[in-house]
Amino acid sequence: MIEKDLVIIGGGSAGMASALEAHNQGIKSILILEKNPYLGGILNQCIHNGFGLHEFNEELTGPEFMTRFSDLIEKNKIEYRLLSNVLSISEDKVVTYSNSYEGLVEIKAKAIILATGCYERSPGAIQIPGTRPSGVYTAGQAQLYLNCYGYLVGKRVFILGSGDIGLIMARRMTLEGAKVLGVAELMPYSAGLNRNIVQCLKDFDIPLYLSHTVKEVKGKEQLSKVVIAKVDEKFNFIPGTEIEFDADTLLLSVGLIPNCDLISKLDISFSKTRGANVTQDMETDVPGIFSAGNVLHVHDLVDYVVSEAKEAGRGAAKYLNGKLTHKGHVYSLKPGYGIGYVVPQRIFIEDAGEQIILKFRVTRPFKDINIFIKENDNLIKKIFKPAIIPSEMEIVKLDKSLFKSLDNTIDVYVEEKK
């Protein structure tokens, strides 16, 4: 059986960034496995700009951003296989993949980084009411058809969900000649970035219906009508608020879910994000198996995916060099009031580097709040936020010296001003 120090599953931004970081840390026996015929993952279809402001200090499109990394992969001669689909990972880190040119291959890895990204919540998953005609797509699916294959899936479009991909697609389809009739969002606030509301909806006079959702989809072979209605605080439809649109297309931008299929049968615990629970080094419950990027939790910016993937790359290098002892004081992180989740879920303080990075999201929009990060009475950090929304991920970098090993739990919570 072939052996590798590090096998990285997924050649998107997380996979490439973690590979490069591990390589920089001295790990030379690396293999990236990518299912598509190209590196770069989903960024290949994200042709809009807005990527790279943190990583490169300039604004790039998706393909440009990912090329910065794939060029480095080539330059550093990091090994990768395209069109190679990983079928399974075993507890003892045997990775089995399949492609048309090598067949079925088993590799014994010393460490694995899972960088398989996420998938879109489908029409079936949200139990969209009505018929199941042609014309209902996830926003990313329509994006793939449009940007990579040159097909416009419809000309009169309604969009459910104000996630960023949906907003981006509202603009893209408008530019390509479709009429976007509106965007409905179940919540009383948008799920997407503010700038996308401005430049994708307002620029084109596309109405945004907050606290609305799709009540019925009509049409037999082909979608003919979308009916939306307003919902109350408990998300029940308010009678009489229905609006009917003559639409041939309904795009869904209703959330992304980490794709953890490959590790779902291993002895690994999962968090609310539906990604694996990890340590400060992005290590899962199985020593030597790491996870980073959208497979861990869905990020708002690819720049943050990259920085997290680098942490995983460093973590894997530490593991391979015997530097992850899992000894000493362990914290578990508890999301408290107003906090949806915190990554990582555990911190081995002795293994941690000088800086400990916490990532979290709030459960709803807040104004003028303090976020507390505390272990027992020790206030590790208090952060004031004039405004904060769930669609933006918060990143806090903390000095290791702030942690006093007083308690086993670190609480992260919101305190609203009275």
Partner: protein, 480 residues
């Protein structure tokens, strides 16, 4: 001149066609859909019922029990996934225990082996069952089957043995013309000596084209959830509540693909073509299912669907000659337990009814086996590598969720009832059946279909004509 023309390529029509293909007859099949098994046979619970439930003495009871016994051989010949996992009908209240005993009695009358279990015995078999469970009726011969490949392979086997299949042919008129029937569709007409009406939810309408009828078919809609195949052992048997007047109730069951299915509801549907779902009904399905199995992870739902059962006003299957003529045979009102009954119905229709009007001589060349599908999961590491060496397409995984290779897709396209739509291909290969519902692989599937049929991608439908996906090419481009 056609000897036998079958209207409807659902499971019943397909198995009748297959049975007829073992005789020297000219057999044709019409279906209004773009694929076989595209209505009721596609959207059901996929359960091979044991037969404890139908009223003793009815056709339902007779064909259910007989059909059940035919499944192991049928599924072997047709290369269809079938597992006899047994069913548990559970009592959640003390007063239901009496009803379980009644069911056990009925089972005995129907000739079905069952066993009454105590609450503890149930819990041992099904650790996730409600703690409220008071007892259950175990029917070991109940099973689960892949209803998609069952219908496809039944028809494929019929076609391999000489049957002609015509899809997208909706019958609009039937005229008796001397000693044959002229069956008129929107675009063609067919002359046949014998017509078999296996038109499912429309079978009363087809029947009424030849004579006045004194019954009707009502579409009874059932709505379902499909959960991802995330974990084994949520339930190990088909779990039923106690049956009621509305049917067998909402079941929870594994599928042959490792998913879980929850449903169906039961509502009278005025529009026989309507297969919409609605939130209130699905919420009720959810509630009732959770009563039996409280830990069903509905956040793992990947799809909801609904199907219409052809419920006859006679409360029993209608399998007989038309009153006016023995050359018109009705196989109507085949609601649940239709799937399990279908092989027995097919035998009966051919041996007992068709035989009265046509001379049946065995076809020497009849082969009851379909060409085996390549089941990659069943191959060893070495066998799989040898296969990929021979045909590299078996190494290229197209559908990431369900791990379907291009080789499997091309194999399906090369068979005698090939998929003509994205949905037909999904039913056969599971490409697009998983958690992303085709979000990633659909363009590749469309390309494969377009290439095979030598049509532009813009003409590949999701399901029937008019459901094309790549409708518009941007930038005035030509579509290749």
């Amino acid at each position: 001149m056609i000897d036998v023309l079958i209207i409807g390529a659902g499971i019943t029509g397909s198995l009748i066609a297959r049975k007829l293909s073992s005789y020297n007859l000219n057999v044709h099949v019409l279906d209004k859909e773009n694929d076989v098994g595209n209505v009721t046979s596609m959207a059901n619970s996929a359960i091979v019922h044991s037969g404890y439930d139908p009223v003793p003495g009815t056709k339902k009871a007779k064909f259910n029990v007989l059909g059940n016994s035919m499944y192991p051989k049928l599924c072997e010949e047709l290369d269809v996934h079938f597992k006899m996992i047994g069913s548990l009908t559970v009592a959640l209240y003390e007063e239901q225990l009496k009803l379980l005993e009644n069911l056990a009695e009925r089972s005995k009358e129907n000739g079905v082996k069952v066993k009454l279990l105590s609450a503890d015995e149930v819990r041992k078999l099904e650790p996730n069952i409600s703690s409220e469970v008071k007892g259950a009726l175990l029917a070991p011969t109940a099973g689960i089957v892949n209803p998609f490949t069952l219908t496809v392979h039944a028809m494929e086997n019929a076609v391999d043995n000489g049957v002609c299949l015509h899809l997208n042919e909706e019958v609009i008129k039937i005229v008796k013309n001397g000693n044959f029937y002229n069956v008129v569709t929107k675009s063609n007409s067919y002359q046949a000596k014998v017509v078999i009406n296996a038109a499912g939810v429309h079978s009363d309408q087809i029947h009424a084209m030849v004579e006045p009828i004194d019954y009707q078919i009502t579409a009874r809609k059932g709505e379902y959830f499909v959960l991802d195949h995330y974990k084994e052992g949520l339930v190990n048997h088909v779990i039923f509540p106690l049956p009621s007047e509305k049917g067998k109730g909402i079941l929870v069951s594994p599928t042959t693909s490792g998913n879980y299915i929850v449903g169906p509801s039961s509502e009278i549907n005025d529009d026989r073509e309507d297969v919409s779902t609605d939130k209130l009904t699905l919420d009720e399905v959810k509630r009732q299912a959770l009563d039996m199995v409280p830990s069903i992870p509905f956040n793992q739902a990947i799809r909801t669907f609904s199907g219409n059962r052809p419920t006859p006003s006679t409360h029993d299957f209608i399998i007989d000659f038309a009153k006016c003529d023995k050359h018109f045979i009705n196989v109507s009102g085949i609601e649940s337990p239709g799937l399990v009954s279908s092989p027995a119905i097919a035998e009966y229709v051919v041996n007992e009814l068709v035989s009265q009007v046509l001379t049946l001589t065995k076809k020497e060349s009849f082969n009851p086996y379909v060409r085996k599908r390549i089941d990659l999961a069943k191959l060893s590491y070495k066998e799989r590598n040898e296969l990929i060496k021979k045909d590299p397409n078996f190494g290229y995984v197209v559908c990431n969720c369900e791990k379907v290779t291009l080789g499997e897709i091309l194999d399906e396209l090369s068979r005698s009832v090939p998929p003509r739509s994205v949905k037909a291909l999904k039913k056969r290969t599971r490409a697009g059946f998983g958690k992303c519902q085709g979000g990633f692989c659909q363009p590749l599937v469309i390309k494969a279909l377009a290439k095979h049929f030598d049509i532009p991608c813009s003409e590949v439908p999701l399901d029937g004509p008019g459901s094309e996906i790549c409708k518009f090419v941007t930038k005035g481009g030509n579509d290749k």
